[in-house]
Amino acid sequence: MKASNSLWQKELAGRLPEALGREIDIFETEIALRKQGKLDERLFAETRLRRGAYGQRYDNGHRHDGKKVQEIAYPSGELTKGPHTLWDAPGMQRIKIPAGGLNAGQLETLAELAEEYSDGIAHVTTRQDFQLHYVQIDDTPSLMRRLAAANITTREACGNSVRNVTACPYAGVCPDEVFDVTPYARALSKFLLGHPDCQNFGRKFKPAFSGCSQHACGLASMHDLGLIAAERNENGQRKLGFEMVVGGGLGAVPYQAKLFDSFVPREELLPLAQAIARVFARLGEKKNRSRARIKFLIQDLGIEKFRELVLEERKNLPSDPRWTEYLESANEFRESALKPAGEPPLLGSTAFQRWLKTNTRPQRQAGYAVVTVALPLGDITANQLRALADIARRFTTETIRTTVEQNIVLRWISQSDLQELYQALDAEDLGGAGAETIVDIAACPGTDTCKLGISSSRGLAAELRKRLAEKNFQFEDAVENLHIKISGCFNSCGQHHVADLGFYGVSRKIAGYAVPHFQVVLGGEWSHNGGSYGVPVMAIPSKNIPEVVTRLVERYGTGRRNGEIFRDFIKRIGKAELKNLLEDLARPPADPSDRAIFTDWGDPREYSLGDMGVGECAGEVVSAVDFDLAGAEREVFEAQVAWDSGQIEQSGRLAYQAMLRAAQGLIKLEFPNMAQTPDQIVGEFRARYYDTQKFFDPFAGGKFAHYLFAAHEKARQPHTADSARYLIDEAHLFVEAAHSCYQRMGKPVSV
């Protein structure tokens, strides 16, 4: 705990917005009450989450050291800050940056906080937030006060709340946008922050703004609420509004958002958002957290019924002047340049030319460019933050934005200043080229700090960055512009679903040992607002993923036809050929003394799920369960192939069959003579694996079992393309969960 904690409130008196200050005072009181045992731990957990104070790995007081689980003897003993979350365990502080917009003073504040409360690094997330790691809960009120003095809030950065409102980082300067969505994103963020109608959600809610429909932009299609700038002509007048989409989301099973309205006038943006919030709060699932996002509510109701309910709610809303009082200032919102427009540079070093090509793009406003400062894995040091603040002041009116690709952009750079700017950035190690190319890999924190991490997303990303950077100049444009995104688990915080090459962490057993793997997910669509999602191909040991990337990139480079984009290439060559290309990488190494695959990137500990569950090892015989689980995976694969070729009913049937086979495999572990019908399998599974919680994932609970139960219930219903698609994804996850269950059981095997 910092010695100055008790002094910051007085130091900053009068400099905090009153409401923010009061909120932080309340939180500080809640900390004190919790320490006195007068506040329930669950309540405290939600209250700190709603202030962005998150848990981190090992905060349950256990850490697997590669051999065994060690108890961590925190000084605070049994005092907790939430269920299974010890008080003194370091946590993560998430800091909301609405629409990614920052000024130089805020960068300097972040620098101070990274040094004084964290490990000297500020991390840009895939939702334009910042995160600081290894933060003590006792320090968070001071940290929050210092942010508030810089006009930044952490309120509702986590928890069952409206999360950060994101927006395209080129809003206002993009040649292709319909109009600048920045003032609307800020207005929505301000309006919904702490709004009474947003306090009773069963789960988080994520809005995003886009200025156009064709580029990646704000990735509206994968958000709970997506707003895409639109215009129409009414009586000869240009009217501004939004195409509104709802119910998108990544997570374990990704959903594309559905069209709510092709044109919502600006005046209706806030009231409709409020009405949606009310419907979500009233009707959204609250008990079963795995079905509590709004996408499930919309799926269950259907979009027509959902729309009807929202519009009905809208009619009943008491009028609120805040709905429209911001519009006048929105009309007048303009960023400005510091320097006059200039001419692009003609000369410069090879390094500068390379940087110019990848890290700059012309603005809509002639003579200006947007410059991307590429941050390795989204990380920036305190010194770099201060230097960037100076650079922003020198070249701009502090027009700075974070991006969901974990970078920072500087807007309104005069083209004549680009060379000088590059030199200034380069002097601070911020001039790395390759922004938004194949070397600019996005990764969630993964097993570095996240409790849910299964494989090391950042370790893999760092390794791929290094290897790809060595080859970077050799890539043709089509390959260079591929997106790689990595998530540490199926929850897709790394947004792997919308990458050309996506990976998410899974675990498998090889020779009886748990081995970190990544599921390979190919052909996601980044453009068109995250227009479509990649499909899983197969799981490969983590240490073999670089070779996966090499083979795919080479295959694409030599095999693509007539300017074919990667997504189309993947679709054309098909999963069977992809499997042929990669399947040897899924096998254990030929040399049994090669132990590399049993550790993960950047971590020499023998891999285990010990920090999530219980690590174990078993013999080398391939068990009957292994055969059944492999059979189940094969059926999922076949289901995908069937779906791709339009055999919808067949694909749905195979996906359901895959789940039955995996369930049957587990049941046979202990009851080899069980009967075979689906009713019997599901009944036995429910009694022996669900009711006993044996199948329960330590963090996802019984979520995946529900996929089997729902599929069994609806087994006789015809499939639509959508329902079959979702079922395949759910089957995939069920089979993964069966693998995990089998590993946790650590049973002696029999063939």
Binding site: K2, S4, P90, E116, P376, T381, R458, G602, P604
Partner: protein
């Protein structure tokens, strides 16, 4: 009087361009397994991908240890996080002793092949609390006697020079350079005498 809490010490290493930080990771994991210091060691943060960054950090509850390349000056670092009772001299000595002990262990580690070695002369001390010790002239004047007394003890009367980086946005810090070479063992012995 200025309170010198949350002291950070960095011992600059020699031939820093030859140092590969990757072998530190298994070494730090081993330290966590063995809980080799009196402080609670928790985890490792790997920032090798960040140029002029924190390098590899051994996260602890009371303090972090690191081999840190901030400002392209590689050094063995100790960052005190928990408050410490006692005087400024006690806190400076505690942090210096911790950094020197860590450095001694690293110097002796076969896996590191002797490549991490204190350069014998240069150290950086900073106070990681801007409210207690803002980086300004008043802090420098208030802290200077404490630093003088401490370095007299640490270098056992040998000559040294001090510089105080003046960027007011940065942590209050002092860079010290001894006029002659000391080994880590020398400095630990001086602290203990």
């Amino acid at each position: 009087m200025v309170q010198l809490q949350h002291v950070r010490v960095k011992l600059l290493v020699k031939n820093s361009e030859a140092v590969d930080l990757e072998p530190l990771i298994p070494v730090f994991h081993e330290w966590i397994r063995g809980q080799v210091f009196g402080e609670l060691l928790l985890d490792i943060a790997d920032y090798r991908h960040v140029p002029a960054g924190p390098g590899v950090v051994l996260i602890g509850h009371e303090a972090d240890y690191s081999v840190d390349n901030t400002e392209q000056r590689l050094g063995v670092g100790y960052h005190r996080k928990a408050m410490l009772d006692g005087s400024n001299q006690d806190r400076l000595a505690q942090a210096a002793r911790a950094a020197l002990t860590a450095c001694q262990l690293l110097e002796a580690k076969p896996l590191l092949e002797g490549k991490i070695r204190f350069n014998g002369q240069e150290m950086e001390f900073s106070v990681n609390d801007r409210l207690l010790a803002p980086n300004n002239e008043a802090t420098r004047q208030a802290a200077h006697p404490d630093f003088e007394a401490f370095f007299r003890r640490l270098f056992r009367g040998a000559e040294y020079s001090l510089t105080y980086p003046s960027d007011r946005r940065r942590l209050f810090s002092v860079c010290v350079k001894a006029a002659r070479i000391f080994t880590v063992a020398d400095l630990l012995a001086n602290l203990d005498s």
